[in-house]
Symmetry: C2
């Protein structure tokens, strides 16, 4: 027999719950579900092709992740990211990611990790030279993900991933408004050097400055452009 043992659908291996979660999250992050708008469980279920049960599951999960609010009879409210959210999140990232840098430096990078981070940094440098801001942001995201992975603290990975997800839309919206991220790109290279040298204190200090600058720049940008709800 072929490998299709189920007559219903073709590609639902990870389960309907994960499918609903991934679909809704993706729709929020790329803007197909608009901030401050509401969507009923039933309509989301129809769009995704599952029943209300996994949609409800996904809604509760996304609520605890800070992306939506489930309101009793009005569906899922897509939460916009406010200036206050940005402040909160950058305060946390400024505490958490320098810890990751410190731990990663103490622990040392594996050959694969070093290669991957160097790769991501190079992609950022190249993307910046080509003025490809989207590619730059992707490299930046990957670098930070690799950094916290290298720290080897699973809870730290989970927490930072959550907060980076929450600011994703604001970062994308401000990409073309912000000045070219020259210093930010250099910071990554410097940080990587510290990690390779095992300079924990240096890594921490560099990254504190990096995150503080990024947070301040973003919040100022949002205030300047009156972008209070993304």
């Amino acid at each position: 027999m072929t490998d299709e043992k189920n007559p219903s659908a073709g590609e639902k291996n990870p389960g309907a719950g994960a499918k609903a979660y991934d679909a809704i999250k993706a729709m929020i992050l790329d803007g197909r579900l608009k901030p401050s708008a509401s969507y009923l469980e039933a309509e989301l279920a129809e769009w995704i092709g599952v029943s209300r049960t996994p949609v409800r599951e996904a809604g509760l999960r996304l609520e605890r992740e800070g992306l939506v609010k489930v309101r009793p009879r009005r569906g899922l409210l897509i939460l916009p990211v406010s200036a206050e959210d940005m402040t909160e999140i950058y305060q946390l990232l400024t505490a958490l990611e320098p810890l990751a840098a410190e731990l990663a430096a103490e622990r040392g990078l594996s050959a694969e990790q070093a290669k991957a981070m160097d790769n991501a940094t190079t992609r950022m440098e190249r993307a910046l030279a080509e003025d490809n801001l989207v590619a730059w942001a992707e490299g930046d995201d990957e670098f930070h993900a690799l950094l916290v992975e290298a720290a080897g603290n699973k809870r730290l990975i989970e927490a930072t991933a959550r907060y980076r997800t929450q600011v994703h839309r604001a970062r994308m919206a401000t990409l073309s408004l912000r000045p070219r991220p020259e210093q930010s790109t250099v910071d990554h290279r410097v940080l990587l050097d510290c990690l390779l040298k095992g300079d924990a204190k240096g890594a921490r200090d560099v990254h504190v400055a990096h995150r503080q600058a990024a947070g301040q720049m973003l919040t100022e940008l949002l205030a300047q452009h009156r972008l209070d709800n993304l």
Copy 2:
């Protein structure tokens, strides 16, 4: 008319979902559900008096909170806290709570907050004098909760609450094994003074030392007593 508008039950106001979550969480934290043991959704549902749906919801939530693991056909596995978990969590708390102390000092305490924190500190001092370790731990917990609330960062509140929940069982188990928490109690009083004076840097430094000492003491204690799974 009286305030009972619903003829069905007497105390299910917060909903069955919350009831299941609270019940299971409480049973885990006080040990009625044993670490490394598994419990089927159906039996939990029966004990609690709800259907499987809210139990399943609670299970998923507790899984993302790090208290259980849902295993496909074997029910909810109650996760023990390992030495590695303690290390991870204290690394995070050592980064997060000093941030809270710093922010709270900058922001200043309201009269109620100051009173509540002083109250909690006094209770700890009194409990220590009376050798009532359980009361001491309760005061300690409340102090730390008040501290992060005073920082005014909602995500910080949520994150630290989660991690404190995860170490709860280990803290309780080691209460009677650890030396009398003299220094720890003094630390709280000193920290509170810094907060009242608005000394952000002092508050941060005191609390870093406080958390580092606590984390080191606990992990050493667990290693000493071979308590790898609580």
